[in-house]
Subunit: 182 residues, 2 copies
């Protein structure tokens, strides 16, 4: 299953003065039409970003370079409910108003067009309205990142994911969410 | 965007005596709970498999080895409406009754738990009920496959995808599908 996760991205969002960044590894291309690019992104309901994305119906994906391991810790190990993770981070905005980080591998600025309840997460389908990705660099995957980060980060992450798994297991519940589209 | 497609899989399905196989490149892991693995799979509405998956609420993913290029052509270049693509192909079944191909890199036997209208495609969220993947082999990506297949297949594929893009463009229409979950 590990081969079915995507490259690492910082997902940024903003709603009424609140902004946040989190790490996501569940991103998929979702269009074969070259001039109508789309993505699917899974966001866990417990994440601070979930409410911002749900309300603003927008987000940006900021793909990480292999030397941006620190961002995994800064954005992925703490909650935006505890502190402003974008404080001191340089960013701009493009079409949707979602923060676009300076100095990443690339970005996709996205507007949500539909959503699906996955129990513990929402799967957002979004149009890519603006974007750029450096074609000469390869994105960073979580499998690579786990080999590159310090051992103490790996331990810290194991504790965090353990707690997340317990929450997800409960929220997944039985199968068949609302609504199934007939 | 090309880096956000998944490894290649033959998606197999069966409903009331009709069975089919198609190629998919839009597959994503969708669970952090180790004993509740899930996947997201995008299936185009025009595909013969779409109806089988929609009705049976099940499918299997059969990941391709790098030497199984012929299956891309056999399953991906023609429609199951025109001929029985599984005729002469060795397969078995596991939990859902979806055909599980013999001699692939691995398989995931999946039951659908929710779906989202994407305009030209449906995004299916599914529980993985059974599966095996050879850990010593790397799956085949479409980027790799395009370099490996004969030039005439690439041309044939370009014609096919051109027609698919025209259909998708029309079916995508304007944004905001039904239903958005508030």
């Amino acid at each position: 299953m590990g081969r079915l996760w995507s490259p690492l991205a910082a997902v940024t969002s903003r709603w009424q003065g609140r902004a946040n960044a989190q790490i996501a590894v569940a991103i998929s291309a979702a269009s074969i039409v070259p001039d109508r690019p789309r993505v699917l992104v899974q966001i866990y309901k417990e994440n601070y970003s979930h409410d911002l994305i749900h309300r603003s119906r927008a987000f940006a994906l900021n793909f990480l370079r292999k030397d941006q391991l620190q961002l995994i810790r800064d954005f992925g190990f703490v909650s935006g409910g505890d502190r402003d993770k974008l404080d001191g981070v340089e960013y701009t905005e493009k079409v949707t108003g979602s923060p676009v980080l300076k100095d990443c591998l690339g970005y996709l600025d996205c507007r949500v067009v539909n959503g699906m309840d996955g129990g513990d997460m929402t799967c957002f389908l979004a149009e890519v309205l603006d974007g750029y990705v450096n074609p000469d660099q390869e994105p960073l995957t979580w499998r690579e990142a786990r080999r590159l980060i310090p051992p103490e980060w790996n331990e810290e992450w194991s504790v965090k994911i353990g707690a997340n798994i317990a929450v997800s297991r409960e929220q997944m519940g039985d199968i068949d969410y609302t609504p199934w589209i007939p």
